[in-house]
Amino acid sequence: MTCVEAIQGYALRSIGIGERLLPREDFTLCQQITLIGSGVLWNIYFGLLALVIGFFIANAVAVAKASPRYWLRKPAEWFILVFRGSPLFIQFFLAYFIFLSMKQAGILPFLTAAQAGALIVLILNTAAYSGEIFFGALRTVPRGDLEAADAYGLTGWSRFRRITWPTTMRLAWPAYTNEAIFLFHATTLVFFSGFPAQRQQGDALYYANYFADKTFNPFVPYPIVAGYFILLTLAIIGLFNLMNRRLNRHMPQEARRIRYRPQLIR
């Protein structure tokens, strides 16, 4: 099999387009890079959707946790405690069981598929972590900013939207960048615990596992996955830096560069 054939056959194998059967013998480097790369599509799918949807939930969670109302604050605290206090590995495992029993009861049966079920777990997970980050940032919004807002007569929703929230984002952004990186890393656990792969369609790690098993050589496929993730991480950092510059465009030059904040990593 030539390299071009491998790319034609396997570049989209992870989403069911291309050769039906995975390579069985005479494994080439090209096949491994292509197929593992096609698996990365799932990592991006999980990471990107969870990040975007989780972002909105995280904001709600952070505001709820900062709320003076008991019935708003307590659920948010518990939500964050459960998802931040337990390993994702175990969350996947338990979620799969819960989705299965829901399927047996006829509720939302599609959740046992990784595409939906694992995505929900990742969304909730990142919502909890980012929620905590945003909550921390919310509490450190400079008093002066808020007093200035009061002076301008801004109150309630418009004060939140125009003053509090943008500042929160600006403060939380470096830590949130880290969270995004970790979230993408966490997507490798989807098919590794709990959720089964269907029709041999899995993520990068799933295919790496397949090759490691067939070639009995772990030193090729796993470093390929590692390479893909380093690229992915660089891309995330690049995008988040652009955003950071935008968030800090009114600040002095020094603050526009992302600086690592040791306080808040996942």
Partner: protein, 242 residues
């Protein structure tokens, strides 16, 4: 990688002093999750058909053996990198595996793989079939028209059928049979599919001497009928014997 998940009592054998230097202790690698072939019993030790066969083989070959468990996915790499000396884990002899490691002669005759489902009339050709990943069964299902659903452990494949995630599970008949008998819901369906060439012990290709010893011991167990006794003890009266 040291996947040495279990301390198993060494099968101490008398008069084992006269051994080849490199194999004063033979480490037997198994999975420990595939009854009746091998499993971990209530007291935390490796038990099952292969435990008894293995101990008897070691006694006959005058070897001191020690049992270790390793998960299925990495059981061959850990043999080739020397973390144990044999694989005795219900591993079918296939050409693919034979290229990387050597097998002794089979100590368990070639038998069929079967489908097990909750009802007759399941679509075996186009439905969702669960199988343990990296087995001859999963490779077979990948080539049929069915949707392959892969799990890391054999137990999960059965659970997948019970909870409706898969239409059927495809595995060794002997693994499925006791499960089907015990459960009221599960039954064997479809025709048996002959796969693989019996079950043998996996040994590194460079370990010719060890392989010869085990081969001789298996032959002697076949000849005096002790192997057949064990087969019937663990797999029931209908079990094909030698």
């Amino acid at each position: 990688m040291k996947k040495l998940l279990l301390t198993a009592a060494a099968a101490a054998v008398a008069a084992s002093a006269a051994l080849a230097g490199s194999h004063s202790v033979v480490r037997m690698g198994t999975e420990g999750a595939y009854p009746p072939y091998n499993f971990i019993n209530d007291s935390g030790e490796v038990d099952g058909f292969e435990r008894e066969v293995g101990d008897e083989l070691c006694a006959r070959a005058e070897l001191t053996c020690e049992w270790v468990t390793n998960d299925w996915d990495s059981i061959i790499p850990n043999l080739t990198s020397g973390n144990y000396d044999t694989i005795i884990a219900g591993m079918s002899i296939t050409d693919e595996r034979d290229e990387v490691i050597d097998f002794t002669q089979d100590y368990y005759p070639a038998t069929a793989s079967r489908y097990m489902a909750m009802s007759e009339g399941v679509d075996l050709e186009g439905g969702v079939i669960a199988a343990q990943s990296n087995t001859i069964q999963s490779a077979y299902i990948a080539e049929t028209g069915a949707v392959l659903l892969e799990f890391a452990t054999p137990d999960e494949t059965i659970a997948a059928v019970l909870n409706g995630e898969a239409d059927a599970v495809f595995a060794d008949a002997d693994f499925l049979l006791p499960k089907a008998e015990e459960s009221g819901d599960l039954m064997l369906v479809g025709e048996p599919v002959p796969l693989g060439g019996g079950v043998g012990m996996g040994i590194r290709e460079t370990d010719g001497e060890l392989k010869a010893k085990f081969d001789a011991a298996i032959t002697s167990m076949k000849e005096d009928g002790t192997l057949n006794e064990l087969l019937i003890k663990w797999f029931g009266d209908d079990q094909p014997t030698y």
